[in-house]
Subunit: 440 residues, 2 copies
């Protein structure tokens, strides 16, 4: 089965916005057994959108478009696709009621310009938008050949002819075109709630297994060296191995398809675990902060933070995890030295003698946070994020990471000579990893 | 002039990697006056890559591919494109010397598997890779019609015929195919150092102006209503207006090309500023946190934070800005009530009487942070990020945002009924906006 994605949006072609839909949709579809064969992005102009969708429909059983369903003047996908498929736009009372309710809940009148969102191509399935106004739409472009009971032979013939006129695919297999709104917070729940059930019903699942093992603390080439010999026998049997280096982490991807896939991936997973453990912190979409929150919750332990160079990033990542409030008491972001002194109890003489970026200051920050918040554990980081502030002895990227427990404080030093934002992310990951190891 | 990008890589189609090349290349090319008309991503398989490149060459004067130039078994782009264009792969002594030097510098022998990288399609321009081994390649697929002195008429005719055989574009305009390596840290310097000069030499710069105005505090449809009449006269003259809703913000994009473009965009910018001010916080790539840091720096004022529901996100965003340390003293992330009490001085009776998510607690948090950190300003947020913790009176999404200054404390309440991560981001933006308005 061929699956194609068409992302519409002039902001994409102008490079003003990062296209996150491709990865997200490709990932979700692969998990359902449908690997996307092609992704195309075009501007919000009539010719480009119609050409891209027409070509995709000539190749694929499933075409998903994103964007261009909103109420503003550059939202033209719905109309162009209705035109391409030769379908009229008809008013949907259901959509109108839903949009009225959306604005009523927010105590605002429905803007007239949302009128356009209440018109949908004739015969569409409508997906109401739980987090916005524009509905998603699904159109069965081709019926399921002989299996389709809904259309008479004559209607089938007519539809095929009319499809041919418009240069569309005319094979007898089922074909769906699905249109999703552009904002990720609207598209994602709609895909999970409405599109997944539709795909499960309409298309047979293909056997495809993909397992990602997430490691930290080892570089990409070293990871490959450490597992290469162990996965070689499985590669001979059809396993594909991929590597992906992220800031502070390396993912190992094990992929196979067909009947032997589940067993093959399982055996290879065990081999990689054996070779890389304890550096594997999670699987697939696991974030290290979620793993840490889970371990703390299981062990009924609490955490506090003292962040300097990460500026709040560790707390931000921890509080992205639902339920973090049961284990995370809080933190002090002590950018200024006086904050280290007055809010965390770091001694002035330690600051003067060793400097703010030093092993003893990291140690006192962690101990101070643990005491102030009365938590079981406290993590502290102090370092030089750059681009300025480095010295020959302490270059940009220098960082000290401390973990305070009931048994005392451990401090590790690292050099993370990356750009400012990568530095903050890698340092936060290293701090979380220090705690994760303690919780194993 | 048509420009297309073809991204190759199975990891893209499996959704395991985010394609950042599209945005980066589209942005760079737009800045050179060449707006990308289509971007396509396909897996590392023969058919898909050849089909995508063949189709792109049938439409575009400039085609740029990314990925598939490395030494491993899935790097097949170079060979497939040579085949598609009917060119032999020939050994390049220059590339081999460069790769030898690359490994010599690192004190390692050149792996045999890099042999494949030393073969390039006949007649290619070679871009040596400053941060890796795989060279970039540029091939002039079609000569510049009558202007081209290098080829005889007979050769031109032969090349056109052979192009037709392979289904390529046969117009007389110049046509280039450029292949770049996949890793961003290799692609980006190569594009700037080698591709930009080539494009400047080979293609006339087109006049193209794009200005983005970034607003916050108004929804997307309301933004359009507020500016529609004012920009209408410019739209008649060829201006294109685009809207992009991000969490807590709406971008208005003004685009034009041709000789009148600079003046047209400038006049439209002034009209939009008049209609939306003071909701416009910045232009193009400005982030609101960078604007706030700039204003604080200019006014020599300092900031502290008391974050509850945002968990450190405001501090994280502020400290992403280089130079933040001169104005940002720090913050307390007070997830637990005891932290609000002990670290920020919120009174127990206020917590008991009004609850942690309340106007009086936000007020005391802000005042407490300002006092503890001895800063000019303090921002405080307390709210319910969800998914749990809502009540009928205070549903998920409820948040109180306070700003403490020398003149006292202002508190605003908002309802941000989004998912947890969007909630945190929107709330952080609202807090930063509250401070930005104070600094105008």
């Amino acid at each position: 089965m061929n699956v194609e994605i068409v992302n519409t949006g002039s902001e994409l072609m102008l490079g003003r916005v990062l296209n996150t839909h491709q990865q997200w949709l490709c990932r979700r579809l692969a998990d359902l057994g449908h690997v996307v064969t092609r992704q195309v992005a075009v501007a919000d102009t009539g010719n480009e959108i119609q050409n891209a969708v027409r070509e995709a429909l000539a190749r694929a059983e499933l075409v998903i478009t994103t964007g261009g369903l909103g109420p503003t003047s550059d939202d033209i996908t719905r109309e162009l696709i209705a035109q391409l498929l030769g379908r009229k736009l008809v008013h949907s009372a259901q959509v109108q009621a839903h949009i009225e309710a959306f604005f009523a809940k927010r105590g605002r009148p429905r803007p007239n310009m949302t009128d356009v969102e209440t018109f949908v191509p004739e015969g569409s399935l409508v997906f109401l938008n739980q987090t916005g106004t524009a509905p998603g739409l699904a159109i069965q472009v081709a019926p399921a050949g002989n299996q389709a009971g809904e259309l008479s032979k004559e209607e089938n013939r007519k539809q095929a002819e009319s499809a041919q006129d418009r240069n569309l695919r005319t094979s007898s297999a089922k074909q769906w075109l699905i249109m999703l709104p552009g904002p990720p917070r609207e598209l994602r729940p709609m895909f999970d709630d409405a599109v997944v059930p539709l795909l499960r019903r309409e298309f047979a699942k293909e056997i495809f297994v993909c397992r990602t093992l997430r490691s930290t603390g080892i570089g990409e080439s070293r990871v490959q060296e450490m597992i290469e010999a162990d996965v070689a026998p499985f590669v001979k049997q059809g396993l594909q191995v991929g590597y992906c280096a992220r800031p502070g982490a390396v993912d190992v991807r094990l992929v196979a398809d067909g009947a032997p896939a589940p067993q093959l991936v399982q055996a290879a997973t065990a081999a990689v675990e054996l070779a890389l453990s304890p550096n594997i912190y999670g699987y697939d979409d696991d974030e290290i902060e979620a793993v840490v929150v889970r371990l703390l919750t299981e062990q009924k332990k609490s955490l506090a933070l003292a962040e300097s160079c990460t500026g709040g990033n560790i707390g931000h990542r921890i509080t992205n995890v639902p339920g973090a409030s049961t284990v995370f008491f809080g933190g002090v972001t002590s950018y200024a030295n006086s904050a280290k002194e007055h809010l965390l109890g770091v001694r002035r003489e330690t600051l003067l003698k060793h400097g703010a970026v030093s092993e003893p200051v990291a140690r006192e920050m962690a101990a101070g946070a643990r005491e102030k918040f009365q938590s079981d554990f406290a993590l502290a980081v102090t370092g030089i994020a750059g681009p300025d502030g480095g010295t020959p002895e302490k270059p940009v990227g220098t960082v000290f990471i401390a973990l305070a427990t009931a048994d005392g404080v451990t401090v590790e030093s690292r050099l993370n000579p990356w750009d400012r934002i990568t530095f903050k992310d890698v340092t936060a990951t290293q701090a979380l990893e220090l705690l994760r190891r303690r919780l194993l």
